[in-house]
């Protein structure tokens, strides 16, 4: 175990100082370039231009998108609860850490270079440049390319929340068996080399899928298909949990899961309706379609399960809701409410089938990240091509408008995303495996991630003291007998 002294060794301090110096130099350089004034730009003119840009800012739009950003952020702890309730008690904290640390890591990565790669000045339609490194040129004035009525910083912050939750979704597939170090390394590599490029292709100015005509209102391709496919690849590469599928591993705390599903449903209004980037009629449409599709999907799953297995489960209801939320994501601002009912029903039924399919085939997508997000995303993306209507959004026209082409465009975009994410995830996982290793050991898996990776226990519910600290010398009885162990009855 490393001591404080060894961490503070001269060589590691030097390395840290060099890295910090390099980072600050880069940020400083980027800012210096941005700050060089063009000819004729006197301070008065500069201020006038800035004021004019600020004048384009709408208070209502800004307020709505700021709130939406907070709503989307809330979805990540919601996801943490949703997943945590489904795993075994001994892995509850490890599972939640996968979501919580994503907030910490991606928030910094996004501000440093993630946002620039995803939405920055286009390079050959494939990626953004590093021109916005450290949020250089991303300020309080709007960027009309993306949203003319809200400060650029707000758009960046809104997009950041999407970048945070997308990788967090993946880890549902490899729950209960991934090393924390591997998780961190995979997280930052996937965000930089898979999410940021894909976001650029679909949403970035100059992105080739955007140019191609792909319709993705809030992230069917960028968030759900990418996470779902990557999840499947990760599940296959990490292998099954020990004991799967013969040993029953029922959810240890379904109330947490339902709470998480509720928070996801709530936050998703920010995810979808916020993607209208304005407090307007389009946001209203997205809000309504989001709620309607989710409700329809919940009903579909519950009824299907009831008919097939005789009892409708709470887990099924929660899963159905999430499936509906996923499927409506690409469609929310393109389709009418009546269409969202059909999208929800389809998602509920298809994802229900996909999730049951998992046991038949035998792979261990532990928390159904592929079954719900991957499959649901594909259903939604495809149906967006069917139900998109100019009556809802002038920017999107699908099969019901007579535009058969859109369905094909969606299909091609789905395939491109699938191939890119599958291949990229495979390579990244190979790299992570070669450097730090992917799985915890057999003994650690038996003991549980909470203890092995985090040295913590999620539920310390015993009333009797189960050990002792080292602050004072332990007391011994008059006879000199020292009791060191206590029997605590635990439930199976």
């Amino acid at each position: 175990m490393k001591t404080l002294k060894s961490w503070m060794s001269t060589s590691s301090m030097l390395r840290a100082a060099l890295l910090a110096g390099l980072l600050f130099t880069l940020v400083g350089l980027a800012h210096a370039q941005g700050a060089a004034p063009a000819a004729g730009m006197t301070p008065e003119v500069t201020k006038a231009v800035a004021d004019a840009k600020q004048a384009g800012v709408s208070a209502g739009d800004t307020a709505w998108v700021l709130i939406s950003s907070a709503l989307v952020l809330l979805m990540t702890p919601g996801l943490a609860l949703f997943y945590a309730g489904m795993v075994r008690r001994k892995n509850v904290l490890g599972t939640m850490m996968h979501s919580f640390m994503a907030i910490a890591v991606i928030s910094v990565q996004w501000v440093l270079f993630g946002y620039s790669l995803a939405f920055g000045p286009d390079v050959k339609g494939i990626i953004g440049s590093l021109g916005w490194f450290g949020l250089n040129n991303v300020g309080q004035a709007p960027n009309p390319d993306y949203a003319a009525t809200i400060p650029h910083l707000v758009f960046m912050a809104f997009q950041m929340m999407f970048a945070i939750i997308t990788p967090a979704l993946i880890f549902g597939a490899v729950a209960e068996r991934m090393k924390f170090k591997a998780y961190l390394l995979f997280l930052i590599l996937w965000a930089t080399f898979i999410y940021d490029p894909l976001a650029h292709w679909v949403w970035g100015v100059g992105g080739f899928l955007r140019h191609f005509g792909a319709l993705d209102f809030a992230g069917g391709l960028v968030v759900h298909i990418s996470a779902g496919i990557s999840a499947l690849v990760a599940a296959l590469m990490l292998g099954k949990r020990r004991g799967y599928p013969d040993e029953p591993m029922p959810p240890h705390n379904l109330p947490l899961t339902l709470l998480g599903a509720g928070l996801l449903w709530f936050g998703w209004f920010g995810f979808n309706a916020g993607s209208a980037l304005g407090a307007n009629g389009l946001a209203a449409n997205a809000f309504v379609t989001t709620n309607t599709a989710t409700a329809a999907a919940t009903l579909a799953w519950v009824i299907a399960e009831w008919l097939r297995h005789g009892k409708p489960t709470a887990l099924g209801a929660a899963s159905g809701a999430v499936a509906g939320l996923v499927a409506i994501t690409p469609a929310a601002g393109f389709v009418a409410p009546w269409a969202s009912i059909l999208i929800g029903l389809a998602a509920g039924l298809v994802c229900y089938g996909a999730v049951n399919f998992r046991f038949k085939v035998g792979y261990d997508d532990s928390l159904d990240a592929f079954g719900v997000h991957g499959v649901g995303g594909m259903v939604g993306a495809l149906l967006t091509g069917v139900f998109a209507s100019k009556l809802v959004n002038a920017g999107g026209s699908g099969l019901i408008d007579g535009n058969v082409n859109q369905v094909l465009i969606q299909l091609v975009s789905i395939l491109v995303s699938v191939v890119f994410c599958a291949g990229g995830t495979f390579l990244i996982l190979k790299l992570v495996d070669a450097t730090v290793g992917l799985r915890i050991s057999k003994a650690e898996e038996s003991e549980g991630m909470d203890l092995s990776e985090h040295g913590e226990s999620g539920y310390n519910l015993a009333d009797i003291p189960i050990g002792h600290g080292t602050f004072t010398a332990p007391a011994t009885s008059p006879a000199g007998v020292h009791v060191t162990a206590m029997h605590v009855q635990t439930e199976l």
Binding site: P248, P250, V355, F359, D368, E491, L492
Partner: protein
């Protein structure tokens, strides 16, 4: 002195406790346990896959009685806990070598 251990259904614990109080016992201890005998497990489904739960929730009660009371107490438990269905449970009785009341230090039959 005889220790009586009974593994019984959760649903009859309250009735058994009341019946035993009526015939005059000094006290008892109860645990929640899981077990199986001839009663096989229950089937549950998770994500469409069927699982058999082998260990079924039961209750276990323990009490210590005087030799002459053992037969009467056991009969009370049997009568109250029996439903006639598989899974009613079992009773075990065995002699114990010592019994002490912690508060007073009394030992033997006086401590029961």
């Amino acid at each position: 002195m005889i220790k009586i251990e009974a593994v019984i259904r959760d649903s009859v614990v309250d009735d058994v406790k009341n019946a035993l109080n009526n015939v005059g016992i000094a006290g008892m201890t109860a645990w929640e346990v899981r077990g199986f005998g001839h009663q096989k497990g229950q089937t549950t489904t998770y994500r469409g896959a069927e699982y058999t739960v082998d260990f079924v929730p039961k209750a276990k009660i323990e009490l210590v009685v005087a030799d002459e009371d053992a037969e009467r107490i056991i009969a009370t438990i049997v009568e109250t806990a029996r439903t006639g269905g598989i899974g009613d449970g079992k009773i075990f009785a065995y002699p114990i070598s010592q019994c002490i009341r912690i508060r007073t230090g009394e030992a033997g039959k006086a401590a029961i």
